[in-house]
Subunit: 337 residues, 4 copies
Amino acid sequence: MVIVIKTGTPEAAIRQLLAQLAAQNVKGGCVAGPNGILLPLVGDTWRLDPNMLQGLPYVQEVRRLTPAYHLASRAAHPANTVVAVGDAKIGEKFCMIAGPCAVESAPQMAAVAQSVKESGAQLLRGGAFKPRTSPYTFQGLEKAGLDLLVQAGRDAGLPVVTEITDISQLDLLADVDVLQVGARNMQNYTLLKALGQLRRPVLLKRGLSATVEEFLLAAEYLLSGGNEQVILCERGVRSGVSAARAALDVSAIPVLKRATHLPVLVDPSHAAGRSELVLPLALAAAAAGADGLMVEVHDRPACALSDGGQSLTCRQFRELSAAVTALLPYAWRPDTF
Amino acid sequence: MVIVIKTGTPEAAIRQLLAQLAAQNVKGGCVAGPNGILLPLVGDTWRLDPNMLQGLPYVQEVRRLTPAYHLASRAAHPANTVVAVGDAKIGEKFCMIAGPCAVESAPQMAAVAQSVKESGAQLLRGGAFKPRTSPYTFQGLEKAGLDLLVQAGRDAGLPVVTEITDISQLDLLADVDVLQVGARNMQNYTLLKALGQLRRPVLLKRGLSATVEEFLLAAEYLLSGGNEQVILCERGVRSGVSAARAALDVSAIPVLKRATHLPVLVDPSHAAGRSELVLPLALAAAAAGADGLMVEVHDRPACALSDGGQSLTCRQFRELSAAVTALLPYAWRPDTF
Amino acid sequence: MVIVIKTGTPEAAIRQLLAQLAAQNVKGGCVAGPNGILLPLVGDTWRLDPNMLQGLPYVQEVRRLTPAYHLASRAAHPANTVVAVGDAKIGEKFCMIAGPCAVESAPQMAAVAQSVKESGAQLLRGGAFKPRTSPYTFQGLEKAGLDLLVQAGRDAGLPVVTEITDISQLDLLADVDVLQVGARNMQNYTLLKALGQLRRPVLLKRGLSATVEEFLLAAEYLLSGGNEQVILCERGVRSGVSAARAALDVSAIPVLKRATHLPVLVDPSHAAGRSELVLPLALAAAAAGADGLMVEVHDRPACALSDGGQSLTCRQFRELSAAVTALLPYAWRPDTF
Amino acid sequence: MVIVIKTGTPEAAIRQLLAQLAAQNVKGGCVAGPNGILLPLVGDTWRLDPNMLQGLPYVQEVRRLTPAYHLASRAAHPANTVVAVGDAKIGEKFCMIAGPCAVESAPQMAAVAQSVKESGAQLLRGGAFKPRTSPYTFQGLEKAGLDLLVQAGRDAGLPVVTEITDISQLDLLADVDVLQVGARNMQNYTLLKALGQLRRPVLLKRGLSATVEEFLLAAEYLLSGGNEQVILCERGVRSGVSAARAALDVSAIPVLKRATHLPVLVDPSHAAGRSELVLPLALAAAAAGADGLMVEVHDRPACALSDGGQSLTCRQFRELSAAVTALLPYAWRPDTF
């Protein structure tokens, strides 16, 4: 961190500030120039709140040089975190999660679960509580949907992933293996704090306009509560000009792999917004070093109650799974230059 | 809405689609061209889910021409909605809401409440549950903070506004006059649905990367639950290049005033991110037709536990209030050209 | 500027780097922490190229704390630059520039010039070389258009502003009073260098995705060539979610007024993209401290060959001019808090 | 295209508009609804200027459904355009372009040219006219640099690519095989028109905030001048939140491959901004179906006068080339689902 102090600030004020910072395990220097005085700070700067420092009358500007997260950082935990769910070891072996956007019926879930398992998926996804932009579109089957999802997972021998949109749903979600926090809830800190108290895997999606640092600070809420089973999921950011619905931030994959020990999945379906873009985005994500994919698959996309336009058919997912598996040996690995 | 149908689609499929749409009170035409067939649709198109239509095998593209919100639209409710709280008639007379980012102590609240009232504020704000990007920064006093806020409001004769971050807080917030939904929770639909069941004013802030349509669809969740006391608040969007922390979208003010009957406030403090930008942004917002302002004020910004860098002093707020009041007669009104 | 040096870098390498920097009038300190070594730098850091420093093998990161422009900065030139053109003293008194997007005919130019002059405009604008997104839309009358513009200006007694899109046009533009560099050419450095050699006013528009620093560095190209008559013009940035065509970055006005001595105009027409948003944006810009406005006005927008949708009628401009003039005494001034 | 007409518009006006459009080979229908009248238009809508139509008094809104480019579209030219340069057949076989950001010296160019050729590059790049954000950083060797580049290419047997920043440089660039238009000049239409008159390959980079449609319209300027040898190059867009310097828009690759017949290269170096991200982005681009890569390579990045931080060493480029070549058989192809 660097604090820029206004010229003309009395030395005593600077000395007092440095003394206060020293008490928080932060060590600082001081270099004076014509346009201001620089205080470079090292140590536990992640504890400091720049907005609070910014309020001091003689402070001109505060800039972080190192991130504000700590437990999520690779420095604090050099080995990869591996989240084991069913046969999957997320963070160690490439993992495929597949299933419909929304749970709609028992036959749908049975058909999709059986098919994606045969195609190599290790977890089954399906939404029961759907956060929808318009109140007039399908909102999910809620409890009934959860029951269908859990049943389909059991029958197919696949652990299940579903989105939690409020802490009041926790009891209903008792039989769900992985709880997903959606992009719109990435900064729902009440929810994150509650999930941090659990000892169950949480899949955290990046917010639509979240920086990597904000993403890892959301993970930090989970980790600082004691829940170490955190899986990150990149799903595209809003750029205003991207060719697809969201700009899949492929560079976030290698950046995250170096910055953090947590596994990094990619959801190509939501970034694409259209089924024909899912395969190239999935291949790009795998090539750039993702630890796995989460893909929307529907047995009959034309009848889907939600996001039909971006769902793959079961056959398309089988092809995607084969194509990704073939590419994997040639993908980027963090130990390359 | 317009649906682009792939060339070569059998007429029968198109006729069937138009018949289904007719049942939802949507009327359509059909014009065929060399690169596709256009189905222009009029009527209750807000009921339709473009993503679902997009899943149909012969649909190439679906585009909305009119928004997906309905109750929030000016067409459905031509007169301004006026939300009466204390002496304020938000949507009818310009309204000022002021107070600290976070409630910190009884003396702080008493000093600020008294001062902002004298300066012309009609409501007192203060955060008790603070959504903070980092888990290591001040998270708010929670219940104790609410009590201090309510007490300070009573003593000063000002109704109070505070942020709700989860429906579990509703009981604690019984004495709060206006419930605020923060930018990060704009698409927390579980929260919005619960607040839609109340008959208490809700101040809804625009999400950091929300379009005007997504903003009004969030309001539609409140309205469709039956809660008509909805106040919108623009607070800047993320652009990546704006001069301040967020790009205050001033054009959203006249656009919203025409699109909806709901009052439109502006929060210059969060858009600015720095106290010296609050006044020019406040004046710009008033000039562009805002129905009021929500401003962060602290008796001693240098000691603020949260957002000290963007808080005005009580004296600065008095000057801002006077400057805005003087400018108001010359501000834009929706009935101008 | 701060350089973060990788841990384990030999002290000799750091000493050598600091010695090299000292030769460029940059003074540095050094503070070592567990995750890296910080070199805070003060002095003529605007001379340094962070990308070049970034290439050094032991450098982890380079961050600017002060801007890379120098001549454009308020620190280097505390008094306002005033550009005198005709009766206008841009930077001292509020200035209105008005006229059609594209010059189309002598009657059009005569009608608009006469009318906007009566309404208070001090300069006449009109495009002869039009940068258009599609090659199939009207590209401007080129030389014939320039002649019409200059003639209309002379007849009405108004200096003229027009866009230069290439240095090959310089001879043709001999009679033009102010040369405009459009948003798409803000980083056309060949053009900027050539205009820096002139001693004629240049109106430089901010690029659609340019930061304030990049904007002022474009101005620095003009200033460092010796041309001191530089006028800045904010015209909205791309955000992907703004309510209008571009997000008018109102905060850029006070930020620029503090960072630089150059005058800051605003073009509400291009930010708006629709005529009904031009007035509220103009009022917001004036309220936030702009030194003037540049507005598109057409005698018959329905017949405009370019940008008809955002042009005001002559009558609307008269109303806008009156409304802005009335508001001006209540606008923000840089000497306020 | 769809035009939304205001309710209450006389039928005669609509009939007249449709008649005018028919004269431009555009056929329209008409469907009336409660909130407006829709005119769906098919045919040569790429000829129409929506901004001009928007100026008509009874037009509420104009929306394109099909793009405004024509010659660049896959529909108008189903087969891939293949640009043959030296041994490269860009658009048919995967192509690698490599070389330093800026030409600096004969030994540098000789070393890099020899090395990248051995590693599999088919073209040599190097900048002589450098568009730099700050006037105080290295601006390129200009004519001397061109000579060094051409000589190094000849000696190594590699055709050369360099950036043209102004049409006045055309004579100097007579011996250059491929002329590059940089991201900042993507909408420099004077330059594009001049290059459209040539019969030499042009490599056009996507602007930092350009949509795919704007990108292809820039290409349309080249094509409509008669120059069919156009190569597109994606290099990342500005998002404000991307993990790297720019958000490499991988989805643009498959979208472009379907929308246009022109070859699509990717520049991972500028998107990355840091050398350690170049390899994963290169692999992602290849996996998503890019026709080739353009990579910055320097023999001694620590001494680079420009962009040292993102340049690969010759050895790193050899590893990248091998890794990309190995992955290519598993990359996405447009004929997949």
